[in-house]
Symmetry: C2
Subunit: 493 residues, 2 copies
């Protein structure tokens, strides 16, 4: 294991011609199989062109025991966050700490409370669907074997399930074509070490079982999407499997379009979009303040929340994904409230990194001290969702100093930096161009959970595949859409 | 049937919004599923971008009895052209008529004779593979029910099998998504009227059984391809199914690359490309003179022809696809030589249009008279393969007049124009843009035949799916790659 993670024996050394052949095969396979994103708008192109998604040339090594561990934990994480989302009192406490520092998260919670009041605490739809993704990095020190550390748990718009399944298929194709120069079926590359990834169908199943639970034939799943979404094909794959496996039709619409053409029946609370009954609202937009371009878009979200449609996720579930929640759950006493089983609790806790608040509590004071003395061990993260806003290491003190008002600090958490192996090598292919280097991979495990927010009964709870994203070790942000990272697949070692 | 062919009841009338939704769904489905071609080089794009193939919005109606008739004839056509290819004496007669008028076809035959002499009539590889496509138009007159007329039979590089299967899947998806405004499972749109098209896997099976017959594990199929091939994905699908269904790896190379890196073992006659043994040479290039950019490319073709690899097709089989052969087979006596069974013969003949030579025979004299008196009923076609060179109707006399030397006329055949229904309506989507109009559809039936050119034993012979190509009724050339036509699927009526 360690030889592969050290980059000493993997990936295989290829000639320039072998690399070129691999890249061409990867590019054309991707374009043939929908492992694509829309072409950048800075080409002459319109919506009609696609380009392969940034992809690693080789599958990246990942220890099998840790991979199995992460997958094995997912249903417990699903249940935990479902419980958190159902606990208004707890989330009220969280929101008080965010008041005035993260307007967007506060607004979400305010809307939740407003809806709760309007429905007098009896929701039109007791069921909620979560399509979550729990993200992990390998953590290793000179003295310890690698372990997994949770980076975050996404409760809204967890993406790349569709493309992730294809990435595994692509690397398998390249292997079976003999292009890696390593025998297929060898100890290194075989069907066990390069597992099929069920993420696309798994997430579609989540939407499908929710649709079944809603119980109205011919009703649709409404995909709430951003207007200019280059990553549309990742979402399309869920639509295609939903139709293929469940016979369910999806319709895509932006918050603006729903504001205009979505209707809530005041009596039955049925949600209709352009006249069609909506069974499930699946948010692939609405997770970031910039998606709310007008008061009407907030009204659209409220309309959906008030409706009988099953939300994926509800406002409370969305809010439960706040980094602040993740930070608070690190406290054993808090975690015990939601996970009474000590054995399960210790399994979850084993993946938690140290997370500290930046408030005026004792922990907050400890955090301030750590930032002064050893900022190089930490990352500063805003509470709200969406990548690209983290502040790393020595830049933290200066960044905080620029926030005039110290109460704004409470909008952030301080997280111990995870130390992944830094000697793993791979190449990332972007628009047909190769770049080699040392890489870091982040494993995300998808989970589906359908539960009753009134009875707290869990109706469905399953793990639904995974995502491996890989970036160069010298780049700190790993968002694929943001242009920093790439999709990968696991090579289990 | 007639109501649909008249355009009176089909396709359904859609609002502008319904059409837009259909086009977006078609575009994204195509980009997700590899129903694509490379982006035009006049965008900023390089090889890394793809665009959906030009596609009809609706499946075009085709009479089920005629569709079944065409499919039912394919194995007989396969056997006929295999026999023609094996009859050197007959093809020698053909080539004499072409001498001096079609240099390319003459050169092919000369190379065939040279190889025959070098091998003393004992080919290194007795087996030959044909992946043919027989193309038909509907023919109808005010007094007659529609029938099918053969346009041509392609013996080399018959394309669009890969994308054709996907076109059927795409139209099915649009139907099942409810986007046609016609109920799926209705009498009009259902799984019987919109059949799955097995062309991609069928053609891959042809290559696979040839590879099996060659019998060397680990040997490859060599795809001979053009350098700048926008239609590469159509070919890629055969590669993917060949790997998936037969575990056989394909390698793509241009004639130039084979000239450089192809090796013929002088003793064993084994063909190697970059060191790898070639079981089957599959030509998706080499059908047009412009593919032969240097004497070395002709040498490459000779090297392959001399080898033990199974050719798809051999030079003789390539040559058997000459229009002149098609013209001569119209003669009952000639056809009887190859098809002794009178019943089969009459079935084949029923699809033949009148075809006349432009030589000095009695038929040639008749042709000259017809060109003078009623050119509007005819199309002039060059003997050689590849679309885009036909001369239609009143333009024929002027075109022939410009050929200074009347012996050049022998390079052409005069074919009775087939009169397809002209009131069928559809829309063609090209790079996401819609254009509606009256359309004409051409049905191609794929066939695979593997036979022994020495014993004349047929080892495999099967029909392998179909292609429907559709163009506007006011455009005379229908080549999809040439920018005139589109891929379609059949709606059986």
């Amino acid at each position: 294991m360690s030889a592969i993670l050290s980059g000493a024996t993997y990936p295989p050394t290829l000639t320039e011609e072998e690399t070129t052949n691999l890249v061409i095969a990867l590019r054309d396979w991707s374009l043939s199989h929908g492992l694509v994103i829309r072409a950048p708008t800075d080409t002459n192109a319109g919506d009609e062109l696609s380009v392969h998604v940034p992809l690693t040339l080789h599958p990246s090594p990942f220890p099998k025991n840790l991979f199995d561990q992460a997958r094995g934990l997912q249903t417990a994480f699903n249940a935990l966050y479902a419980k958190v989302a159902d606990d208004s009192e707890f989330l009220n406490g969280i929101t008080e700490e965010l008041a005035g520092v993260d307007e967007f998260m506060s607004d979400l919670w305010k809307l939740h409370l407003e809806v709760e009041e309007m429905t007098e605490g009896v929701p039109a739809q007791p069921l909620t669907l979560g399509l979550f993704r729990s993200d992990y990095l390998l953590h290793t020190t000179p003295t310890e074997e690698p372990s997994i550390r949770q980076v975050e748990l996404n409760t809204i718009s967890a993406s790349f399930g569709g493309l992730s399944s294809l990435a595994a298929d692509c690397h398998r194709f390249l292997s079976k074509s003999g292009l890696y120069g390593v025998a297929t079926g060898s100890q290194l590359l075989n069907d066990e070490t390069m597992p099929l990834n069920p993420a696309a169908r798994g997430l579609a199943k989540g939407l499908g079982v929710a649709h079944d639970a809603y119980g109205v034939k011919g009703s649709i799943v409404l995909f709430v999407v951003q207007n200019l979404e280059r990553n549309a094909f990742d979402q399309r794959w869920l639509e295609y499997y939903l139709l293929e496996d469940f016979g369910v039709v999806s319709v895509r619409a932006s918050l603006e379009e729903i504001a205009e053409s979505g209707e809530l029946d005041p009596i039955t609370k049925v949600l209709r979009y352009k006249g069609r009954q909506v069974a499930v609202v699946y948010y692939r937009a609405g997770y970031t303040p910039t998606d709310y371009t007008s008061p009407a878009t907030w009204e659209a979200r409220k309309k959906m929340e008030l409706s009988k449609a099953i939300k994926c996720p509800s406002l409370a579930t969305h809010f439960a994904g706040a980094k602040k929640v993740q930070q608070v759950l690190v406290d054993e006493l808090v975690l015990a409230k939601f996970v009474p089983d000590a054995n399960v609790r210790s399994q979850l806790k084993a993946t938690f990194a140290d997370i500290l608040p930046l408030d005026v509590s004792d922990l907050g004071k400890k955090a301030r001290k750590l930032i002064e003395t050893c900022p190089e061990k930490y990352v500063l993260k805003p509470q709200r969702e969406g990548g690209g806003n983290n502040v790393y290491r020595e830049r933290i003190p200066g960044y905080l100093a620029e926030l005039n008002d110290e109460t704004l600090w409470r909008g952030y958490i301080l997280m111990e930096l995870i130390e992944p192996p830094r000697d793993v090598r791979n190449a990332i292919i972007r628009a047909g161009k190769v770049k080699e280097g040392n890489v870091i991979s982040e494993l995300g495990i998808f989970g589906c959970v359908l539960w009753d927010t009134v009875t707290h009964e869990i109706r469905q709870n399953f793990e639904a595949g995974w995502l491996l994203r890989t970036k160069f070790a010298d780049s700190e942000e790993g968002g694929v859409a943001a242009g920093f990272g790439s999709i990968d697949s696991v090579l289990l070692i």
